[in-house]
């Protein structure tokens, strides 16, 4: 089983070939966005972090900025800095693989927005021409797939998530790496995942991460319902977080869980991993892309429309009405599982086919719609206060 991708100097294989334009602090999103808009082949990743935050968050944000730069879909990086932010732009530049070209422009040094955009556009054009290359065949060991469910309804747990879980098992068996997560959406199902951990230490770590997340929720002294499950989940028939979690975890398939990753951390060997991460799309997708995912499987019931600027996001739904109503955003329909006319295994095979096709260059619906080509629907997860 192979796909065709862009072989990088560090040995990784991209399924897309972008110059990532990444601000080191939210204050220069404007400049980063204007630069990327001017140059074909650029993809902006915008966010609202990088300054006036405590050191654990700053460390996490730095890890993610570096991780995004190192993602195989990124051929080269243009960092856009303000100059006075807490994040050290040079450090981010130096921590990205030495085998990847990284340019840096700084607004306070260059004399403002206009001159920074002009300089940035020049740098970006040079980088785009540097990374031009053809696709070559690569095996599945070169593929990391992120898995997410969003805007779930009762069909998610009985169709889209089990079918995706079947595809995840096939990916892992083929030597690929798969990252799932959404720690909040494990509450009530953590015992099942812990039993699938490769050893006791991994299982214990997973339970600890769930307890920490639940602790942060309880510290507010309120019922989390309305936040999780969301009002949309509740309208779709999901009553409690436990019910949502039990339906959500099946998207991670049945293979042993090899490790628990910090938010944005990259796995070091193939297999199935759990990333400590929130359920919200903007932050979750960033985490798995920073962790090296070149492609994302995203299941939905009610219909989540967004993609991600650096990676193709494949939308899978088991709700036929959603597939028909939101066809602009849906890639794979697995509603036949509910009708009883297709097996979970067969639907999983169709998802795997879609991965190979999209990894080899065929655009997903989010890319066709340009959702999110502007890079504005993304953020980096932080757990502490903005100060």
């Amino acid at each position: 089983m192979t796909f065709k991708g862009y072989r990088r100097k560090d040995g990784s294989v991209g399924v897309r070939n972008y110059v990532a334009v990444i601000p080191t602090v939210g204050c220069v999103n404007e400049a980063a966005w204007r630069i990327s808009r001017e140059v074909d082949g650029c993809a902006p990743f915008l966010h609202h972090q990088g300054c006036c935050q405590l050191s654990p968050d700053i460390a996490q944000i730095q890890r993610v900025l570096v991780g995004l730069g190192n993602n195989p879909n990124v051929g080269a990086v243009l960092l856009v800095s303000l100059g006075c932010e807490t994040i050290c732009a040079e450090e981010v530049k130096n921590l990205i693989s030495p085998k990847k070209q990284v340019a840096l422009v700084r607004l306070q040094e260059l004399g403002g927005l206009t001159s920074t955009v002009a300089e940035g556009v020049q740098e970006a054009r040079n980088l785009v021409s540097e990374i031009r290359q053809d696709r070559v065949a690569a095996d599945m060991r070169g593929l990391t797939v992120g898995v997410k469910c969003g805007a779930s309804d009762a069909t998610s747990g009985i169709a889209a998530n089990p079918a995706t879980g079947a595809a995840v098992d096939m990916l892992v068996d083929q030597g690929a790496t798969v990252i799932f997560g959404e720690t909040t959406e494990v509450l009530g199902a953590e015992h099942i995942l812990a039993n699938r951990a490769i050893d006791k230490a991994v299982g214990t770590r997973l339970i600890e991460k769930v307890q920490q997340m639940e602790g942060r929720v309880k510290a507010f002294g309120v019922d989390m319902r309305g936040g999780q499950p969301t009002p949309g989940n509740i309208r779709g028939g999901i009553t409690t977080i436990e019910e949502k979690s039990l339906g959500a975890i099946v998207k991670g398939g049945n293979r042993p869980i090899k490790g628990v990753l910090e938010y944005g951390e990259s796995p070091t060997s193939p297999g199935l991993y759990f990333m400590d991460s929130p359920g919200r799309e903007m932050e979750f997708l960033t985490g798995v892309v920073s962790g090296g995912s070149q492609i994302i499987l995203f299941t939905t019931g009610i219909g989540a429309p967004q993609g991600f600027p650096l990676v193709p996001v494949i939308k899978i739904t088991g709700n036929l009405k959603t597939y028909q109503r939101l066809e602009e955003h849906m890639d794979v329909d697995v509603s036949n599982i509910i009708e009883g006319t297709e097996s979970v295994e067969d639907a999983g095979n169709r998802i795997l086919d879609s991965i190979l096709e999209k990894a080899s260059g065929k655009p997903v619906k989010a890319e066709i719609a340009g959702y999110d080509a502007s890079g504005i629907n993304t953020n980096i997860y932080a757990t502490g206060p903005v100060i």
Partner: protein, 97 residues
């Protein structure tokens, strides 16, 4: 025949409607064996109804696992949702200050 409701696991005490069902309708669900349930409420697509009577505090089971508890008395065939069941997790409102 088009199926109207699913029991996901044999230990479950709720079923999931896979098409809209009206109050008064009788549906057949497959648990240990086929059984008839008379619906007491309208059930929307994706929503749950009880297969047994439940007292407040009794656990609601779906996917063969506990998904919460009854917050009111629930009778067989009734809609089971936020009006009569609740979560046991993430309950900051249950914590003593």
């Amino acid at each position: 025949m088009h199926r109207k409701a699913l029991v996901i696991h044999k230990r479950d005490n709720v079923a999931v409607a896979v098409s809209a069902i009206h109050a008064g309708e009788t549906v057949i669900v497959e648990r240990e064996k086929g059984e008839e349930v008379v619906l007491k409420d309208d059930i929307a697509f994706g929503h749950k109804f009880a297969l047994v009577d439940l007292e407040p505090g009794e656990t609601v089971v779906k996917y063969g696992e506990i998904i919460g508890q009854a917050s009111k008395k629930i009778r067989r065939g009734e809609h089971v949702h936020v009006h009569n069941m609740e979560s046991r997790r993430g309950r900051g409102d249950w914590e003593k200050p």
